[in-house]
């Protein structure tokens, strides 16, 4: 199955997610007009969500993203781990 959702981050930018899943999430694409430094790290965030259960709680998804950010020294502007988790959750439905 595949889902798509869009979310406007309060005081921030627009973020959307395209998520493909069956028993597990097997593909995630995060899109939007936000900033992530370094830019290449968005793929690492997307990769970190692959393999999660589509029923995963929003908080757990956000925690996964926060862990990648902390380990790689990533800076987000106009988007937050919580906003990405929210839109991924919305995309799965």
């Amino acid at each position: 199955m595949e889902g798509f959702a869009e979310y406007k981050v309060p005081e921030g930018k627009l973020v959307s997610a395209k998520v493909a899943y069956s028993e597990k999430i097997y593909s995630v694409q995060i899109l939007g007009d936000f900033f992530i430094h370094p830019e290449e790290s968005l793929s690492e965030i997307e990769q970190a969500l692959i393999g999660l259960s589509p029923g995963e709680e929003e908080d757990t998804i956000a925690e996964k993203i926060r862990a990648v950010i902390a380990s790689k020294g990533i800076e987000m502007i106009g988007v937050t781990p919580e906003a990405i988790a929210k839109v991924v959750r919305m995309a799965i439905g």
Binding site: Q29, L31, D33, F35, H37, P38, E39, I77
Partner: protein, 243 residues
């Protein structure tokens, strides 16, 4: 570098070639001003080309498309409608925080606009507003110790044309929506009779005020590298349609 005009892929290639040159110590910190011919839509690093840009409409209108290395949103760079700048320099010349460095560089734009009698101010994250409406959008990246910030200063605004090139649903391209954008976005022509060259000259003053500088051009090596990047990256579907 003085005002130059290039196609979209070359404009992006030049930015990256200069960044490499500054990193290697082969070029001084650089400020460049440029226009886009053909006119083009640039999208942010994390946007989807097909979702944001009406490729068929661009083809019909002879408008290019390109993905930037910077984040941010889709921008329509009309040849007669805006001036783009880039600042490419070691990041230790700027405030450490990205948000603070936006404010730092954007103050050069507001100084430039002041030269045309336009009062404007920086509004975080990355916009400049005049009379409460956006007149400039900016985007920054940092890699290998080099800061690259580019941005657009709107000279003229054709919302209908802009919407025809972006993927805004037909229902949304109503008179009401167009009016909505016109209420939120503005341009130099709404404040001043200055020509686009005068805008560039005033921006040049704003950007270079209080700095020692020479006006230069690309070296042969930089031009070759820019052409290479233009062809292999910025004109390629692999890059432009990667999302």
């Amino acid at each position: 570098m003085g005002l130059e005009t290039h196609p979209a892929s070359m404009n992006m290639g030049i930015d990256e070639a200069i960044a490499e040159s500054v990193r290697n110590g082969a070029a001084a910190p650089t400020i460049r001003f440029y226009r886009w011919n053909p006119s083009a839509v640039s999208i942010g690093r994390f946007q989807s080309m097909r979702k944001e840009v009406n490729i068929d409409a661009c083809r019909q209108a002879g408008v290019d498309w390109v993905r930037r290395i910077t984040g941010g949103g889709a921008v329509y760079h009309d040849f007669n409608g805006e001036v783009t700048y880039s600042v490419i320099a070691p990041e230790d010349m700027f405030p450490k925080g990205i948000r603070e460095s936006y404010a730092f560089i954007c103050s050069w734009i507001t100084d430039g606009l002041k030269g045309l009698g336009i009062d404007s101010r920086f509004v975080p994250i990355n916009d400049i507003i005049a009379d409460g409406k956006k007149i400039s959008g900016n985007a920054q990246t940092r890699r290998n110790g080099i800061l690259l910030q580019h941005g657009t200063i709107l000279y003229d605004l054709d919302v209908k044309k802009m919407f025809s090139l972006l993927n805004v649903s037909k229902e949304k391209i109503s008179d009401k929506m167009i009016k909505g954008v016109e209420d939120r976005v503005t341009c130099v022509r709404r404040f001043s009779d200055a020509g686009i060259e005068q805008l560039y000259e005033s921006l040049m003053k704003g950007f270079t005020g209080g700095k020692e500088y020479d006006i230069g051009t690309l070296t042969e090596q930089e031009r070759k590298r820019a052409e290479e990047l233009s062809g292999s990256v910025y004109a390629s579907d692999g890059w432009n349609f990667s999302r």
